[in-house]
Every structure is written in C-alpha cells, then in structure tokens.
C-alpha cells in the first residue's frame, strides 16, 4: 500500500449528506475487476445521464474539479453496502482523500486498506470548506496527515482520524504481514478456544 503523508490538490465539494456506496458505484459495475478501469464509473449515475452524457450540474464534471484529488462532503459519506469497489472507484479516479463530518464504518475501514484517507471535521467546518471551494473552485486544499490538518486558503482546520488508521496510512502497513507475525499466538488461541467452546465448530455433515 502507498504511504500517505501530505497531499495538495484540487478538491471537489459534494454538498450531500448520506452519499452511499450505491451512488459511489452502482451495483451493476460490481462484477468489474479493477483492471477494467473502475475509476471511469465513479458516481456513474450522478455523473452521467441514461444516454451516457455528462450531467453538467454534478460537481466532478466542472472543469476545475475534474482532476480532483480530494472530495469534501456532508455527514455519513460512504454509508450502505460494504462494496470495496466504492473505494477502488474513488482511488482509481485519482481521489486520495475524502473530508466529511462522518463516514460509514465499513467504507472507512476499506479506505484505510487501500490508501484512501478519510479525514473527519465538524459539520460546520465541512460546510465552510465546501462554501470556500464553491466561491473559488481553483482553490487547492492541502491535507497533512502527520500534522492532522487541512489548509484551505488562509484557514487551517484540524481533522481527526483513528490513531491506528493514521499510523497505518503513514507507514503503508500490510495487515497480513503483521498478522502472520502473530501466527503462534493465533494457534495457541485456537487450541485453547476449541477446548473451551467445542460447540463453536460446526457439526460435521
């Protein structure tokens, strides 16, 4: 996984609460493998009409935000389905950070696994950043994970992130390698547990 330390880039405001993973990537694209270019269908039904033409009013279609590296949204971004393709779509489009007041639990778990930063700010702060971007679409944001702050013009906002997730993003840790280092403890747990909870193993069929 790629490490995340500091990022500066165009930021696209999506002024909606409860942006769910069905909106981020509609279900019909879930059979796609990542090498098919999942970034192309990010927000597909919000970005394009039924004939495949761009919807001019969707922010990601505006010239200043086409190349966005950051998305700013209202509360509960990424709620709904556990589809990791939602994170693949954002990442493969070029988004490296989403800023919002809250995130769907499974979505933010998936994000950290793939190097996409989910930065939490207060409701009013998200609204303020989105308003600043609407006033000046060219305004780049800087997101600094080490300092846990967002620089937006002459304003600086502190953001929160779970410290474990922060460390994982900064270091680009691989979970499986880490878990493998505890192999002996897992085996010991399993032996102890099977003696204590024999009923937890399914009856042989």
């Amino acid at each position: 996984m790629e490490k995340f330390t500091r990022l500066t880039g165009a930021a696209c405001p999506i002024e909606q609460a409860n942006v769910n993973t069905d909106q981020i990537i509609p279900a019909r694209f879930l059979k796609w493998t990542r090498d098919m270019g999942i970034g192309k269908v990010l927000f597909n039904d919000l970005r394009f009409d039924a004939e495949g033409h761009e919807r001019a009013d969707f922010p990601l279609n505006r010239p200043a935000w086409r190349g966005a590296k950051i998305v700013v949204a209202a509360r509960n971004f990424g709620c709904g389905s556990s589809r990791e393709s939602a994170v693949y779509a954002l990442y493969d489009y070029g988004i490296r950070c989403v800023i919002a007041p809250s995130f769907g639990d499974i979505f933010s778990g998936n994000a950290v696994q793939n190097g996409l930063l989910t930065a939490i700010v207060a409701d009013a702060e998200a609204a303020e950043i989105m308003a600043a971007l609407c006033d000046n679409p060219e305004l780049p944001l800087t997101v600094d994970l080490e300092e846990q702050r967002i620089i937006c013009g002459n304003r600086t906002y502190a953001f929160t992130i779970d410290p474990v997730r922060r460390a994982r993003m900064l270091n680009g840790w691989d979970d499986i390698a880490l878990t493998d280092s505890f192999r002996d403890r897992i085996a010991a747990f399993k032996a102890r547990d099977q003696a204590a909870r024999p009923w937890a193993v399914p009856t042989a069929q």
């Binding site: 059979k31 556990s82 809250s102 769907g104 474990v164 979970d175 009923w199």
Partner: protein
C-alpha cells in the same frame, strides 16, 4: 467481584486473541460466509499464492447474481453465469462448502446461515456484505467487511478491530397489534438517523424486543447497518435456543446442552454500563413506510410528507427537497395518496417464512392492483411456502412467484425496477437507484407491501387484517 459486563464485552472478550498497545485487537472468526461478490478477495489470495486457513469454518452461497426467473442451471445471461461459475470454482479450489445454485439449501446468505444452524449464539461471524449484522439476532457478534478484510480472514481466520462504542436501544413495553419488527427498526432509524449508531455495537433490549420471534429479530438486526451500526445483537434466550435446536449444523445432544449453558451467560449483567442509551416506547410505534432516499426518511403511514419550506435548517430543507424531487412526490401530501407501480417481497430483511405468511394473510382472496415479484429468502423457505400453499395465494393475487436470491433488493441479477417506477418493497435500502437507475423505493413490512399491492397505493394494513388470522 468482577465488573458487570455487557453482551458486547462478553462476545468481544471470548474472541480476542491479542490487543496491541494502540488499542487494536486481533479477533478470532468462528464463521466466515462468502458469496459471488467475494471474487476480489479470492483474486488477492491468488496473487499472494496463499491458501484458506480454515476452510471448515468458511461457507459459501450463490445469492447476489443468481436469476430468480428462467433456467437456473443454464443461465442465459453470460455475465451472471460467469459470476456464479466463479464462486463455484473458487470454493472448489479451496475446499469450501458451497450452497450453490443446484443445492436445495441455496438462498440468501443471511437467511441460509441461521436456517442451517451455522450461525449460533456466541459466535463471531463476518461476511463481505453489510447486512451481516442480521446474524446478531441469535446473539452472535456479526458484522460486514470489505474485500481486503475478506482476504485477510480467508488467509488467517482472524480480523483486526477496534472495540466499538457500546450502545443499547431499548424498546419498552408492548407494541400495538399489527406492529412488526420492520416497523420497530424503521422507527429506531427515523429516531437516531442513518448515522445514529456509527461506530457502535448495538444491543436491542426491552419487552418489545424480547417478544419478537427469531425471524423478527433477524429483520431488526439486519437493518442495524442502516443506522450506521457496526453490528446489532439480541441476547440469546429460550426463544433462541428453541430456534437453534435440531438445525443441521448446530450442536446436538449433550453438546447442545453444554452450549445452552454457555449461551445463557451471554446476556448483559445487571448494572453494566453502555456509553449510549436510547429508549423508545413500544406503544408509540405505528406501521411505518419510508418516503425519501435514506432509511432515516421514515414516517408512520398516517403522516403527511415533509415540506422543505417549513424546515428551519437550510441543509435539511435542501435534503428534503432533493429527496422529494427524486421520489416524484409533492410536499404536504398524505403518504396514503402515493400510488405505487409495483411491489417486491424478498431480501435478507424480510423473506423468511413468517414474512411470506404475513403477506399472504393480507393477499388471500384479494387481487393486487399492480404487478410484483415474490422471492423467498432461501430455496428451503420457498419449498415450505409451497407446502403451505402460499405460492398459490401470491399467484392468484397476480404476483410472480420467483426463485430465491438477493433479486430486486440490489438488482444485480437483472430484477430491476424501471426508471421512474415506484416500488413498495420489503427490502432495506431506499437509496437513489438502488433497485435500478431512476427507481423509487418505499421500504415497509411484508404485510404493508401486500396492502400497497391490494390498494395500488401506500396504505395502512391493519383494516385489511380485520377478522383474519395472522
């Protein structure tokens, strides 16, 4: 004396292999369910040349992509056929038991797990599907995970987690006649919001919850994720033990008795502390339907639609206006004036035998004014419904009786609501485009969907139940 513990603490402690200094714990996974959509995870295994650590604790179903109409052994759509074949190949390669398309036990993963006795009280259950919270109904700690985590569980049978916030939702007292689990959970979500339980493990408690059957509790816990919860759980009791007993994969004989003894100790101790508490009164809960594009947009059936002009908060007003626009309905109208184009009875939320019976009790001897599809939660539920003659009631009412799968809840098998069409649905998500691009979804209980079918518009089911046995 040890400190009183919640059921969440007890389940957590029983599965914690180790805790790092930073607070992250490595947990043991008792059951891992996979489905066609888990292909990303199998690809990750292949790329690492890794195997499955515990194939005996891993079970697979074909549910998301299976057709509900036409041939299931010779699937016409090549993309669906490929997805179903892929799960067959991946599970065969790794020695994982599959309830596949030709298996009489095939069905939706969250119906099959409990039905087969694979999901038990006291287990930690994961699956690459957000509605894994369903299994908490039996007193399991069950949550949905993403593809990377699915790969991790396949390779190690463990998962890294941070202990969630403990939250208790109490529904005190009895509910009124005709009120079911779907009404209770929609009332809870309307009260706390679609992110009201984010980061929380929720225990459902109180007389109204205790009075629910296991099937009702499955519906309740299923939609925990729609309030943002990591998982939902109901402490196991005599109702739970009676449900589990005799199921194919459940412990038998002396093993079962020993298990019941262990399960009986899972309930939250008196005086145990929850970080958050919410209480609803059962008597306040009416039959509920959703009107908007988030499950939190839920109102009693006798209510009128919200008016953005009367919303003091500008953001809330915008959200209400956007939702009403998408749904094609005008502010201030009565919910019961909203005409529907079709109905769907199915999904992991509401397609168990009691759900089908409840819908059939309304539809018996009546005709649906709109078309609709009924898709049982599992092939065994379908078989039982046919033995009880429920399929004939649905057909005679004019509805289609399909095969089992996720079907029109998520629409990836081709069962879609057409653009602009309005569907009364027993499912779990009324998101924009969830049931197909441009589709408009109203969530409600199976009996309420049946009432909408009979009237051709949203309606209170209770008058239709007068004098009927339900």
């Amino acid at each position: 004396m040890t400190e009183p513990q919640t059921i969440v603490d007890k389940l957590w402690a029983a599965h914690e292999i180790l805790r790092r200094d930073d607070g992250e714990s490595l947990l043991w996974v008792d059951r891992h369910y996979v489905h066609e959509g888990s292909f990303h995870a199998f690809a990750k295994l292949a790329s690492r040349g890794a195997g499955v650590a515990e194939p005996g604790l891993t079970f697979a179903v074909a549910d998301h992509y299976v057709p509900t109409r036409g041939s299931r052994t010779n699937i016409a759509n090549p993309e669906l056929a490929r997805m179903v074949r892929q799960v067959e190949e991946n599970t065969a390669e790794h020695g994982i038991k599959l309830f596949g398309i030709g298996d009489p036990r095939q069905g939706i993963v969250h119906v099959v797990g409990p039905e087969q006795g694979l999901t038990l009280p006291g287990l930690l259950v994961v699956c690459g599907d957000s509605h894994t919270s369903t299994h908490g109904a039996l007193g399991a700690y069950a949550f949905g995970i993403g593809a990377s985590e699915v790969a991790h569980v396949l390779m190690t049978q463990t998962i890294w987690q941070k202990k969630p916030t403990r939250m208790r939702v109490t529904v005190a007292g009895a509910t009124a006649p005709g009120i079911v689990a779907k009404d209770i959970i929609l009332a809870i979500i309307a009260r706390i919001g679609a992110d009201g339980a984010t980061g929380c493990a929720v225990e459902y408690a109180g007389d109204a919850i205790r009075a629910l059957t296991i099937e009702g509790r499955l519906t309740l816990c299923n939609m925990s994720i729609e309030a943002g919860a990591r998982c939902g759980v109901v402490a196991p009791d005599a109702t739970t033990f009676a449900y589990v007993k005799g199921r194919p994969y459940a412990p038998h004989g002396a093993d079962f008795d020993r298990a019941v003894e262990a399960w009986s100790g899972l309930a939250t101790d008196a005086g145990a502390a929850f970080e958050r508490e919410v209480t609803l009164r059962g008597e306040d809960i009416a039959p509920i339907v959703t009107w908007g594009t988030s499950p939190e947009d839920a109102l009693p059936i006798d209510a009128t639609l919200p008016d953005p002009a009367r919303e003091p908060d500008a953001e809330r007003a915008k959200r209400v206006r956007d939702a009403l626009d998408y749904m094609g309905i005008a502010p201030g109208r009565k919910l019961t004036e909203i005409a529907v184009d079709r109905v769907f009875i199915g999904s992991c939320t509401n397609a168990r035998i009691e759900d089908l019976r409840a819908a059939a009790a309304v539809l018996a001897g009546r005709t649906a004014k709109v078309p609709g599809l009924v898709s049982a939660g599992s092939s065994l539920v379908k078989q039982q419904a046919e033995q009880e003659g429920l399929d004939r009631i649905f057909r005679q009412a004019g509805l289609e009786w399909g095969e089992s799968g996720c079907s029109m809840c998520v629409g990836i098998n081709g069962d879609l609501v057409a653009p602009g069409e309005r569907c009364a649905s027993t499912t779990n998500r009324n998101f924009r485009g969830r049931q197909g691009p441009g589709a408009r979804t109203h969530l409600m209980s199976p009996a309420m969907v049946a009432a909408a079918a009979v009237h051709g518009h949203l309606a209170d089911v209770r008058p239709l139940l007068a004098g009927r046995r339900v």
